[in-house]
């Protein structure tokens, strides 16, 4: 039996926005959990009221932009933010925007472009990702070398805390060290500290020129050697990415071999020269069909190809292993990795973000993820890196044989979560235990 | 008004920005806030405000300052940390006197020609051979005791009072200074040689005494004043025909030219005479550059790489940096090479090397490393105290460079 009071929910958001028939609920949900109801609030006060209601009855509550992960909220409430999708303000003088969390990432990008501005973070999923989700996940991406990780672009927010209280923080200043840095700390907290209801987003002027250089390589190793050459030549593109042969076709139909995508955003004059330099390095490094792309539509197509592959892997995080090493250590990392995985070109999926030294592996059916991650972590650590995120920290502590450090880290994480959400109501599916 | 009240405005002008952290060698090496201008100034202020009673730790903070003056150059507010430390030392002297050891062994001995002469004779005769017998005493507090040079007899006893030349163009009074008189007499001879080769008649008063700088630095203004008066009277009364009063010791020159004015600021009747004296004081390289050196007379067949160390009193006291370098580069086949941080203190800093040797030894080690990095054969400088400190430091780490006064290098390039 669920404790959810459907009629009270209807009283808060209106009948039309409380959905409790399983068939209608399905399109808002993913995962195995079975929430009792989907609710679509339209304002901060509605969100606050729903959270307060959940608190009274100790009901679990999961939040998503367009789709909610149902893990841990069986019998509880799935809150979909898609009705809170307005662009509230575009302040060109200060290069900031105020948006509601349910605004789709792709729509936000279009609006931003209309004003000649730039919002660098990549969407997690091209079609359904929201701006709120972008900051809730708060990742780095393949443009982070140039623009910084996602958190760089959040200046403030309004948030409904797990108690229902509303917290506002931040301002349009691009420099702000007042108080503790809860603004950036909240980025990546996956909705465990609270639910974003308004976001104050930092923007940049759009780059004067965008170009891409693409090429294909017979092996991952040759492509990475070319990346190293570029770094040694002090060339740091906006993106410098590599997709293995198995996935390359998804990014660019008809591709044979491993696909290299180098994205150059910047000034016109240097852009021209660097594009030529990149093209010659790729060609000399063994690349074929090396091409400089200047035309806008074709550029967008190439970048979208990358984002599509990126999103495919994001969609199956439970079946991927991600790790980082120093970018110049990548050739060694891949050589050693191949001993574990076999031919990387034929692996179900491998992408490399060359400037960040980041690799994401899509695992073949039947692979023991933890086992592979443990081996990969050892490999990465020997090259100054580690498996990404929480899992990486646990594996690292294992390698140090330092159970105490891991215990400290998790107890600190859990204490923080507990302080903000004493009843453990919000997004219980998010685990801080790895 | 007390001594500290007189400098209170400057004490109060330090706004603790910490900019002097970069300048202060004693801070760099110890990382202790008591060992940097900002810390010292705050302590002096605490004493001035009556919040702190001078104690041993306070004395250490004040006495360990190298007085190199680097903080004064670095301070955006123009606070002269070295002057404030001087005031604090004066204040200490007045309140507590000077420690007997410092007083009798160092200051009084230096102040009295007789006692200094006696000291050097003792050191030469018995002391040095005695010290040589003690293992591990090669480097007493970082000072190279065994190789500490001593003159066979004081320079002043080796030369006549007047050295004439065939066609005198200038008349120079030579203020020799303690170090050149008793330890580095060869350098004193070099100075005379360079001067005479450039048509200067040299007057060397026999009854000259210590300039008073060591006593002054320890706040003993009374003794410093006594010696200063004696020096001024000697040169102005008995040898008034000397056009200039020249010294080859940067520290002496800074004292004679600048600090004498401060010493006698409270004695208006005598001050005019002091001013007259100060205006006549010149440093060796400064003077040579001014009268012009005949480069054609300089000969040298051995290619040499030379680097130059700026003594604190030269670079920050007198602001003389170009002239010695120019003179060096006049000598044929000398390749001049600048060292890193040439203008930073060598660690000698008067008596600091004896009393705060932990600090000064490290400072010297840094300096010798900077010297080594230049691959120079010779290190030139303009202060005998630096010469001894640098040579000792170089010997200690087993490097080969020879340290010479600019005058020595020039003198070698003149035919005898």
């Amino acid at each position: 039996m669920s404790n959810v009071n459907i009629s009270k929910l209807k009283g808060i958001v209106g009948d039309a926005y409380v959905i409790d028939s399983p068939s209608e609920m399905a399109k808002y949900l993913k995962g195995q959990g079975k929430p009792a109801v989907v609710v679509l609030p339209a304002s901060t006060s509605e969100v606050s009221s729903i959270v307060k209601l959940a608190n009274e009855k100790n009901v679990k509550l999961g939040v998503g932009g367009a789709v909610v992960d149902t893990q841990g909220i069986t019998g509880g409430i799935a809150m979909v933010m898609s009705r809170m999708n307005r662009l509230l303000e575009m302040d060109q003088l200060n290069l900031v925007a105020v948006v509601e969390p349910g605004l789709l990432h792709k729509e936000f990008l279009l609006k931003v472009a209309e004003f000649g501005l730039n919002f660098p973070p990549e969407p997690y999923e091209i079609e359904t990702s929201s701006v709120g989700g972008c900051f809730a996940i708060g990742d780095s991406d393949s443009k982070s070398f140039e623009y910084g990780p996602t958190r760089t672009f959040l200046l403030g927010f309004e948030m409904v805390l797990p108690t229902g209280e509303i917290l506002e923080i931040g301002n349009k200043c691009i420099k702000n060290v007042s108080g503790l840095d809860f603004i950036h700390f909240a980025v990546g907290s996956q909705g465990t500290f609270g639910i974003f209801t308004k976001l104050l987003v930092k923007l940049l002027p759009a780059p004067a020129a965008k170009k891409a250089v693409i090429g294909t390589f017979a092996s991952m190793h040759k492509a990475n050697a070319a990346f190293n050459t570029l770094i040694k030549r002090n060339v740091h593109p906006t993106r410098m990415n590599l997709i293995n042969a198995s996935l390359a076709k998804n990014a660019k139909p008809g591709t044979e071999g491993q696909l290299v995508i180098v994205d150059l955003q910047g000034f016109k004059e240097s852009g021209k020269n660097i594009a030529n330099e990149v093209a010659s390095v790729l060609t000399l490094g063994g690349g074929s069909d090396v091409k400089i792309i200047e035309e806008g539509a074709e550029y967008d197509q190439v970048i979208n190809g990358w984002l599509k592959v990126r999103a495919e892997l994001n969609a199956k995080r439970s079946r991927t292993v991600e790790f980082v090493v120093g970018p110049m250590k990548m050739p060694q990392a891949l050589a050693q990795l191949e001993a574990l995985t076999g031919d990387l070109g034929a692996y179900p999926g491998v992408i490399v973000e060359g400037l960040l030294g980041y690799v994401c592996l899509a695992l073949p059916e039947g692979t023991d993820k933890l086992d592979l991650a443990t081996k990969v972590n050892k490999l990465a650590m020997s090259l100054g890196g580690n498996v990404k995120g929480l899992l990486g920290h646990k594996l690292k502590a294992d390698v140090y044989n330092d159970a105490e450090m891991w215990k400290q880290t998790t107890s600190l994480l859990n204490e923080l979560r507990q302080q903000f959400d004493p009843k453990g109501i919000l997004n219980p599916g998010v685990s801080l235990e790895a | 008004m007390g001594v500290l009240q007189d400098v209170y405005e400057m004490l109060n002008t330090c706004n603790k920005c910490g900019g002097c952290h970069t300048a202060c060698k004693t801070y760099k090496l110890t990382g202790a806030e008591t060992m940097v201008a900002r810390g010292r100034i705050q302590l002096i202020k605490a004493v001035a405000d009556g919040k702190l009673e001078p104690n041993q730790e306070y004395e250490d903070a004040i006495m360990s300052c190298l007085l190199c003056g680097e903080c004064a150059v670095t301070c955006p507010n123009g606070v002269h940390g070295n002057e404030l430390v001087m005031a604090a030392r004066r204040d200490l002297k007045l309140k507590k006197g000077i420690k007997p050891f410092v007083k009798s062994f160092a200051l009084n001995t230096l102040a009295s020609p007789k006692r200094l002469d006696m000291g050097f004779r003792l050191f030469k005769g018995m002391g040095k051979s005695f010290l040589n017998k003690i293992d591990g005493l090669d480097y007493f507090r970082g000072i190279d005791i065994r190789n500490f040079p001593t003159a066979k007899k004081p320079f002043l006893e080796q030369v006549p009072e007047k050295i004439t030349v065939q066609h005198p163009k200038h008349k120079v009074g030579f203020y020799v200074g303690c170090f050149l008189n008793h330890a580095l007499d060869q350098t004193a001879h070099s100075v005379v040689k360079v001067l005479t080769k450039n048509d200067c008649e040299v007057i060397i008063p026999k009854d000259q005494v210590c300039c008073g700088l060591p006593q002054y630095c320890y706040g003993d203004f009374e003794t410093a004043k006594k010696n200063a008066r004696k020096t001024i009277d000697t040169f102005l009364d008995k040898y008034s025909d000397a056009e200039v009063i020249l010294s080859a010791c940067g520290s002496c020159v800074a004292m004679l030219r600048h600090d004498y004015l401060k010493l006698f600021a409270d004695e208006p009747s005598y001050l005019e005479k002091v001013k007259l004296f100060c205006e006549k004081v010149v440093e060796f390289s400064e003077y040579m550059e001014k009268i012009g050196v005949d480069q054609t007379k300089l000969h040298n067949s051995t290619p040499l790489t030379v680097t130059y160390h700026d003594p604190c009193h030269m670079v920050r006291g007198l602001k003389v940096t170009k002239q010695p370098r120019q003179l060096l580069q006049m000598v044929p086949r000398i390749e001049y090479k600048e060292m890193f941080e040439a203008n930073r203190c060598c660690g000698a800093a008067g008596l600091i090397q004896a009393f705060y040797h932990e600090v000064s030894t490290d400072i010297t080690d840094q300096k010798t490393q900077n010297i080594k990095d230049t691959n120079a054969d010779l290190v030139a400088t303009s202060c005998p105290a630096c010469m001894l400190r640098l040579q000792g430091g170089i010997n200690k780490v087993g490097q080969k460079q020879k340290v010479m006064h600019v005058a020595d290098i020039m003198a070698n390039a003149y035919e005898d």
Binding site: L390, L416, F420 | N15, N55, V79
Partner: protein, 458 residues
Amino acid sequence: MLSQAVVKRLKEIVGEKNVVTDKVGLLTYGYDGTLLSGEALGVVSPTTTEQVVEIVKLMNEHDIKLVPRGAGTNESGGTIPSEKSVVISFTKMTKIHEIDTENFVAVVEPGVINFDLQVELAKKNFYFPPDPSSFKASTIGGNLGECSGGPKCFKYGVTRDYMLGLEVVLPNGKVIQTGGRNFQSEPGYDLTRIIVGSEGILGLVTKVFVRILPIPRAKKTMLALYDKVEDASQTVADIVAAGIIPTTLELMDNLLINTTEDFTHAGLPRDAGAVLIIEVDGYQEDMDEQVKTIGEIASKIAKEFKVAQSAAEVDQIWTSRRSAFGSVARVRPSYGVNDITVPRSNFPKAIGGVLKVAKDFGVTIGVVAHAGDGNLHPLILFDQRNKEETETVHAAEQALCMMALDLDGTISGEHGIGLVKKKYLDKEFTPAAMEAFRKIKRSFDPSNRFNPGKIIDL
């Protein structure tokens, strides 16, 4: 007073020389760059993480608080010993463990002086972008604690953006690592970010992984001179509005031009109402276009616009700018530095606000600003010995903070809160935000052992 037993144990942990308990020593660790002062029970200077752990455990046993300190050049009072506490000074943890230019990371101990790191990096043609004006003296640990800014923030961001990972000793004496050598290494929550700028109230950082970048291939430094400071502020707004991101956009008013000129003799015109120092960097081939655009924008209002011709000239300009704070005691012996920041479009209004405060309170204010960031440092000049004047200055400072908040700004853009601005914090933040800070502090340090009383009270 520390008990003999505690002193003995401290000396066992860090060595005789690294413990200070005498009055003279303690006096010199009681102040920082502010007008405040306090007195610690002792000063201890560890040289390893293990020593830090032992010190924390010992202090916990005896219920003594710890106040972390780097060079003590901060402007927030963040290192003032405010309760019965021992100062833990990191100036002896000065090792640069590693500089890995190929992988854009350096690993350093917290006591490394920012400038010393820059010198080592420069040998490899790299640099560490955050360089607060105090960078020749201040430490990386201190920069991290206050989340320092500096003149390059406009393009490159603040200290927080260059911290990849930390080793942290928690108030319970346990050690954790946050982040790592690369992006994407945080465990769950971004712990690195919450520790950066926390002024030591959450943990003691003993090792820092910093992001380093290659020195840009080309750089151009420009000067624009104005009759009035308001005119300069308009150029700032115009440049931002034109979508240009210079590396720096610094402003000094007439008072600062003169005090710095007394010190540096850089040749800035003493009669100018204000000067803007504008710098762009990047690829050589992009310089001309940017300089041209900026020149056009500035020349609309400026009475003179010029591009620095030599490296020496650039050095002189920066020496002037960096000595701005220090040099004002040439006018009056004390200064109160403010760190108000407003949205960039409000910058001209903020300048107007500062002038109004100066007039209303009858105080002398010199203005130096990271104008491109909307970050102003109005320096109120006075003499601390004059009680009445000091009161007026405090009132004026409060007015400045309120003015910034009214313009949707913040009371601190880069200096931190410490003790100096703590009293204004609840004017900027709602009770819910203040409570969020407390929740974070409680999670790390429930017994309030580290740097108590700074930023917030529990």
